[in-house]
């Protein structure tokens, strides 16, 4: 299972970012979300949601072993109790979707809670069944 992003359908409404921080921090703060929305305006006029594809590169790089995929879950999840906020994962992420925020004690990472796909009304973010990424 993964989240499929269709940039042509994103309208930049930021509902996904709001629900993300409500779910993970009990706060409303789009800048803390594990999903970012690039906006290429005025030309060509396109929104590009950017979020983790669960490739596992961060997990392999983490010196504390704080990022793990547990059981049959498809997400690599950050264990905040093990994380020392060293920043290696953020630097390692090949597509730049491990985020930081001044008020977040550890990097911000998507854990596939799927809440964003529930509020999205345009089909920009949808859940698809797909084989687990092969890494690790």
């Amino acid at each position: 299972m993964r989240i499929k992003v269709d940039t042509s359908r994103c309208t930049g409404c930021k509902l996904c970012q709001q629900i993300c921080t409500i779910e993970h921090y009990g706060e409303i703060n789009p800048k803390k979300a594990a999903i970012r929305i690039g906006a290429e305006f005025p030309e060509p006029g396109v929104f590009t949601p950017r979020l983790c594809v669960q490739c596992g590169a961060c997990a392999r790089a983490c010196p504390e072993g704080a990022i793990e995929r547990t059981g049959s879950a498809d997400a690599f999840v950050l264990d905040t109790s093990k994380c020392t906020n060293c920043g290696v994962c953020v630097e390692t992420c090949p597509i730049g979707v491990m985020y930081t925020h001044a008020a977040a004690p550890t990097p911000v990472k998507c854990d596939l809670c799927l809440k964003c796909t529930e509020v999205c009304n345009t089909g920009a973010l949808t859940v698809v069944d797909s084989p687990r990424p092969t890494s690790r």
């Binding site: 930021k14 409500i22 409303i28 009304n121």
Partner: protein, 638 residues
């Protein structure tokens, strides 16, 4: 305090002094935000004779209580001042993303005082607040500047700008944000320009304090799931407000050629369907909106550069399109771009240009006045040249830069009879000759003929289009509902089109703030705002109120010549009947002045004192004011 940023920011542009104070909770609860904050502050602090473009006017930026919350489309941001167009209270709001950003930076109201000696822009990065030099930006187009500042500051700043029209003090200059969202009306952009404030750039990274986050989350989540399959969802997502073009033509309320008629030959070329087919690039939403009525477009016209912007939406199509005789959606989108980049409100801008086109048609203005150009219906080159003259206030552009009323007063020759305006504010994109409640809405509104003060078109259909009876109480109700959306700062379309009730929005306010607030309390706030801004208008412009609530002669006495509403007019007698009914139902006297009784009922005794001193207080009503003012009616969606 839950639900608010917590800080009021005051900036003296002359001295550069920046003051912060906590937002008083009593003030927040009484006025709720944006339009309410603006109305109260402007009334209390701007001297009665202050020049709208002078140092004593204030320029206020204020989000509302639901801005930036998880409530349905809590995206709105209010701007306020005294209007250079109407010389009365002014507020105008925009969607997009700037309002939430200001809230996340921690601010509930930013009051800008005096005039900066040099061009500046306001830079806010959470607690860092600076006035930064803007000489390098002065003279730039609104859209061009936003693109430039996004590059200079970074994508995560939200930016509002003015164009040359705002710098030059055009009476209907707007403020632009997000490549096509505007606070368009009342000339708020001119006041911003008069302060030499070219732009506002904000980044906010703080969390919003919520009283009951699980409650608010469930509340909105349930509304999202409930409204996703609503039958209006798909057409709104596909076409946005432009879907209304076909309906308005079929129902005889679409302005064609300066409101000469109400069915536009060739409307199919500028319809929502045509927009989606021809110019749409992507759908675009305001913050927290899942209906995405914003349509981002590209205009392609041979011989002109391709232009991008958000729009055109219905009002622009009606006024730059229909009212200027256009029949090609590319031309309307290009006209939209021109106005946006110059910093002209497309509604007043389109209306004024349509009015000037009729003046040209009648030979009242000529090529000599237009620097050798013509001003023909539907001609995009003529349009381009003329709006350029307005924005620069060059030649006859100066005459039209203060709106149709001011232009007609100078031109004479009966032009005032076809200047479609009320209180100096140009009509929105609805002709009213078959929609008398809408005419009453326009003419009694504090800021003049703006549809968002009360949109009564479908209410007219429900109440009977050919009768003036029963219109006034419904208009009052609608005039009380609308301020709520302008103070809560969530989009009214969820109410109008998706059946999310005002009560549900109040529930969101309760979850957010923890207040035991009710819809009745909110409606009282609305009525308080409405009476306060009425008093403000009278104090600045003299009384009695009735002399300001005037309709254009075309709407009253000129029969619609073609289309589904052929032969219709409102009639002076019917209009006077509605006005009398309106004043009586508001608890104002027969001259349209608020009475002490109604002002005291609303907790505004000081305003009654002020009006009394100025000889503007209404005479007591024999038998007292109505207990309930206004009659509830939820207009059907189209």
């Amino acid at each position: 305090m839950y639900g608010f940023g917590g800080t009021v920011l005051r900036i003296n542009l002359e001295t550069g002094e920046i003051r912060r104070s906590p937002t008083p909770e009593s003030f927040a609860r009484e006025w709720l935000g944006a339009r309410g904050f603006v109305a109260k502050t402007i009334y209390d602090e701007v001297p009665r004779n202050a020049d709208p473009l002078g140092p004593e006017n204030l320029f206020i930026v204020a989000p509302g209580v639901l801005t930036g919350s998880f409530a349905p489309c809590g995206s709105k941001l209010g701007f306020g001042c005294v209007s250079p167009l109407t010389n009365g209270h002014a507020d105008s709001n925009m969607g997009g993303h700037l309002g939430p950003e200001i809230k996340y930076a921690g601010y509930d109201m930013i009051v800008l005082e005096r005039i900066s000696p040099k061009p500046v822009y306001l830079f806010i990065d959470d607690d860092a607040v600076e006035l930064r030099p803007a000489e390098q930006y002065w003279g730039m187009g609104s859209l061009d500047l936003e693109a430039r500042m996004k590059k200079d500051l970074g994508e995560d700043f939200q930016i509002a700008t003015i164009g040359p029209a705002g710098e030059n003090g055009v009476g209907f200059a707007c403020i632009t944000h997000d490549f096509g969202r505007q606070a368009g009306r009342c000339g708020v952009g001119a006041v911003m320009g008069s302060k030499r404030l070219k732009a506002i750039a904000v980044r906010g990274t703080k969390s919003l304090a919520v009283h009951d986050l699980p409650g608010l989350t469930k509340h909105t989540y349930d509304i999202i799931q409930r409204t996703k399959p609503h039958p209006n969802m798909e057409p709104w997502q596909k076409y946005g407000t432009a879907l209304f073009v076909s309906w308005a033509n079929e129902h005889g309320c679409f302005p064609s050629r300066n409101f000469q008629t109400t069915y536009h030959e060739g409307w199919e070329g500028i319809s929502g369907e045509k927009l989606a087919e021809e110019v749409l690039v992507t759908h675009k939403a305001c913050f927290g909106c899942w209906m995405n009525c914003g349509k981002y477009s590209r205009a392609r016209i041979p011989g002109k550069p391709d232009t991008y912007l958000e729009g055109p939406e219905y009002e622009t199509i009606a006024l730059c399109g229909g009212s200027c005789g256009m029949t090609d959606i590319h031309h309307v989108a290009y006209a939209n771009y021109l106005c946006d980049n110059l910093g002209l409100d497309t509604m007043s801008g389109g209306n004024v240009t349509g009015f000037a086109m009729e003046c040209y048609e009648r030979g009242i203005i000529t090529k000599d006045d237009l620097e050798g150009h013509e001003l023909r219906w539907g001609n995009i080159d003529d349009f381009e040249h003329f709006v350029g003259m307005i924005a620069a206030r060059r030649g006859i552009g100066e005459l039209f830069s203060h709106g149709t009323r001011a232009a007609a007063q100078k031109l004479g020759r009966g032009t005032i009879e076809f200047a479609e305006q009320a209180k100096g504010m140009e009509f929105s994109g609805y002709d009213t000759r078959w929609y008398s409640a809408q005419l009453l809405s326009y003419c009694t509104a504090d800021i003049g003929a703006h549809h968002n003060r009360s949109w009564a078109i479908t209410a007219d259909i429900e109440l009977g289009q050919d009768t003036p009876v029963g219109k006034a109480p419904v208009v009052i109700y609608l005039q009380h509902i609308r301020p709520l959306f302008d103070t809560w700062c969530c989009c009214r379309l969820f109410w109008g089109e998706l059946d999310v009730t005002p009560e549900e929005h109040v529930d969101a306010v309760r979850h957010l703030t923890g207040w035991d607030i009710t819809i009745e309390e909110c409606m009282l706030t609305s009525e308080r705002i409405w009476n306060l801004t009425r008093a403000h208008y009278l104090e600045r412009n003299g009384g009695p109120g009735r002399k300001h609530d005037v309709a254009p002669l075309r709407q009253l006495e000129e029969r619609i010549p073609t289309g589904p509403a052929e032969g219709r007019k409102v009639g002076t007698e019917n209009f006077e009947y509605m006005l009398n009914d309106y004043y009586a139902n508001r608890g104002w006297d027969a001259e349209g002045n608020p009475t002490r009784e109604v002002l005291e009922t609303l907790g505004l005794p000081r305003i009654a004192d002020r009006l009394e001193k100025l000889g503007l207080l209404g005479k007591p009503i024999p038998g007292g004011i109505p207990k309930v003012r206004g009659q509830k009616l939820k207009p059907k969606a189209m």
